[in-house]
């Protein structure tokens, strides 16, 4: 092996994945944009304290910044729920195999093809004041697509030579799953489930636009970007649309770009994407 042994082969795969993410220009820019949105939300009290009675577009911008935390919290909690459901659904289908597995994943595919964004609209109308239930509906509506992707990742890994070789090396099925498949699947699964976050934010924005969902309180407490958009459409001017619309658009782009970066990180971790990286 003269001339082959060299440095760099002992670099942790997580560091390699991070390098892969950083190599994605879109991912880095997306992360920066998301950080900027979050910083804007954190600085909102300072901005509003400096200008206590803003008007017009400035007022809408301050309100949109004020809604950063509520929007991301709602979106984040719904996305976590969606990811959990997707992992259980897709992972269960991959592990079940036989006839049940394909049926479960077909069901997820069919559900993903349905007009699920209407589900939060209906729930928003029925469960208006209940933020928790609304987040649950958002999470469930966003789960099928990541479930299909999670199934693809896990099924490919369970069928891979890596799992077969671990079996040949005497590892039990549980050990193969816990010590081989899941660590190798971590980044691809994160990339698969990440798509739930922009999905729930978009659905919440759509519900808010038609004045459904949470945050339409009288004093604007708990307002989200969706509710601000709805209020602007209902009674405000075009300037009121600008703040929440812009922040929502930037956040959706940033989350999509981060998803691209995660996909690249997964491909870097496992060159060639042989193990089902999305």
């Amino acid at each position: 092996m003269d001339g082959l042994a060299g440095d760099g082969f002992g670099v942790s795969p997580w560091r390699v994945a991070w390098r892969g993410f950083r190599a994605s220009r879109a991912g880095v820019h997306g992360l920066g944009a998301l950080a900027a949105v979050c910083c804007g939300g954190l600085l909102e009290p300072v901005l509003s304290a400096g200008n206590p009675t803003p008007g017009g577009a400035a007022k809408a911008a301050v309100a949109a910044l004020d809604a950063v935390a509520a929007s991301l919290l709602l979106g984040g909690s719904a996305a976590v729920l969606a990811a959990v459901v997707a992992l259980v659904w897709g992972g269960g289908a991959a592990l079940a195999g036989g006839r049940a597995g394909p049926r479960l994943v077909t069901l997820a595919g069919v559900a993903g093809a349905l007009p699920l964004p209407l589900l939060p609209l209906m729930a928003g109308g029925l469960l208006d004041p209940d933020l928790g239930l609304f987040a649950v509906v958002l999470g469930l509506a966003a789960a099928p697509a990541p479930a299909v992707a999670a199934h693809g990742v896990l099924a490919a890994l369970l069928r891979s030579d890596m799992a077969t070789a671990a079996d040949a090396a005497g590892l039990t099925r549980g050990a193969v799953l816990l010590r081989r498949v899941l660590p190798a699947a971590a980044v691809p699964l994160l990339a698969a489930c990440w798509s739930a976050l922009p999905r729930v934010l978009a659905m919440e924005g759509l519900a808010g636009l038609v004045h459904l969902g949470p945050g339409h309180g009288p004093a604007g407490e708990g307002a989200t970007w969706g509710s601000l958009l709805g209020d602007a459409v209902a009674g405000g001017g075009p300037a009121d649309l600008l703040g929440p619309g812009l922040l929502l658009a930037v956040t959706l782009w940033a989350l999509g770009a981060i998803g691209d970066g995660l996909a690249q990180a997964a491909a870097t971790l496992i060159p060639g994407g042989r193990r089902g990286a999305p």
Binding site: M1, L4, A5, G8, F9, G10, V11, S12, P13, W14, V16, G98, R99, S160, D161, M162, T164, A165, A166, D167, A168, A169, G170, L171, T172, A175, R179, R180, P183, A184, A186, L269, I270, P271, R274, R275
Partner: protein, 570 residues
Amino acid sequence: MTSVTAAVPHPDHRILTAEGVGVFRPRRGGGAGTDLLSGIHLSLDAAEVVAVVGDEGSGKTLLLRALAGLLPPGVERVGRVAAGRAVLVPADGGLWPGAPLAEQFAAALAPFGLGRGAALRRAERLLTRLHLDNPARWLPLCPHQMGEGNRWRAALALGMAALNGGTGTEETGGLFLADAPGAGLDPTVRARLLHLLADWARESGAAVLLAGRAGDGLDGPADRVLRLSGGSLGPAPERDEAVAAPLVPSGPPVLSVRGLRVAVPLVRGGGGPLVVDDVSFDVGPGETVVLLGESGSGKAVLLRALARLMPAVSGRAAWMGHDLLTLDDGAVRAARGDVQMLFPDPRAALAPTVTLGDQMTEALDALQPGFTPAEQAARAAAALELAGLPLAATGYYPARLPPELAAAAGLARALVTGPRLLLADDPFAALDDGGRGRFLERLLRVQQARSLALVVATADADAACRLAHRVLVMLNGRVVEEAPAADLVRDPRHPFTRALLAAAEGHRPALDGDPPGLFAVPSGCPVRRRCPRVRDFCAQAVPEPEVVRPGHRVSCHYWDVADDGDAGTG
């Protein structure tokens, strides 16, 4: 896509002249850049076929693109290239995935003044030249609707059409560049296709430059073979690879396989077509048995069944007196310390997030519990040394290792339990020519050091004959010829064996067409549709093994009939 550069007529029959060609990546802000290729001098005459071989990353693709004037962004060329019309068929064949072949041929032939009808007739002629059956049936289809072999036939025919309308002369032949043509095809199919391409070049006056890995059969049809190494082009050296030491018989077989049948489980509870059918063989201590066959021959499935990674339908595999196929889970685990496996792509077979050292320790914990950590470390160190890796390799993560290092890592992982039988599934698949030679040598050294019994599955007849004491040639799940390696090289009797050996030596194999798929195996002899010796009786019965001489058996109805001039080549 197949790319065409502008035509510049050349005054004599020299098609390509490249003088002092170099390719470099310029440094930002000026200054000397990075040389990728340098000092390339190359000339090709009309009707000449030249092969450029080189290891992975040696710059073969870059050279072809530099000659075609199709360099990727970010690199620049120096030197002089004078060529006529040139076509580059890229590494994947370059067919447009979304368009039917008919459209692609019509577009390629339009510059030669052919209307759609005439273009399709010309396309049919070119496809027939490359032995595509019933080309009119394929022309309305898109590339993804074709098998790999037919897709390559179509890609090369399209390149021929785009170059000179498929019918050039010495003056108008043009330059045909092909990057890894036929990559991924079975050796006999690829060799046959390359010879047909060379025939066309010699008739049409085209100059052909083929680039690929050594050992991919490019040298067979070529008039000259050059090697690209270190960014420079030079003559290809003679291959000098190790061969197995003669086997000294030392006792009864350690592995005895009888009547093994394995089916693809298509439905729950088994059931499905047999992919290994009634295979029997013995492996002695320190012996190397090679299962030689093309894709779909069942060689890899057989190995996995022996390692109990796939269930067998019936049969017996006696290992040191125990039937591997019927052992309970506990006994299988104990046996796996003795019987280990190498996989075709070691990077895919080793966990990417666990260091090599931890994977070796885990295997020891699972298969041979009871060692102290110090003993485990000593065993890992010994396995690494045998595999030719430094001790520091215990800290390597396998996913990003280069192929040769990954192959050594896979070998070390398999050796750590001290196996007495190693099952190697296409261990050279991911290696280039140099890596293959070194790994083959390493495997032979390990075998001698540990007195390992070795069962290797491969499609590489050259490696098989170097490595093996005995070769079993497999076809559609059956052994069609079995002989000591030296006998097989000297006197192959089955037409399929002859074709495999001919392809490995660069000759034109006599077998035509693609291997039949799992669900399209013909009645009688499975190779009869490709066989030059076929008779009516071949369709009526599957040939039974017959003894040619002690230790040499062949399953062919007409193995003892005098050749009709098909001495493996056609």
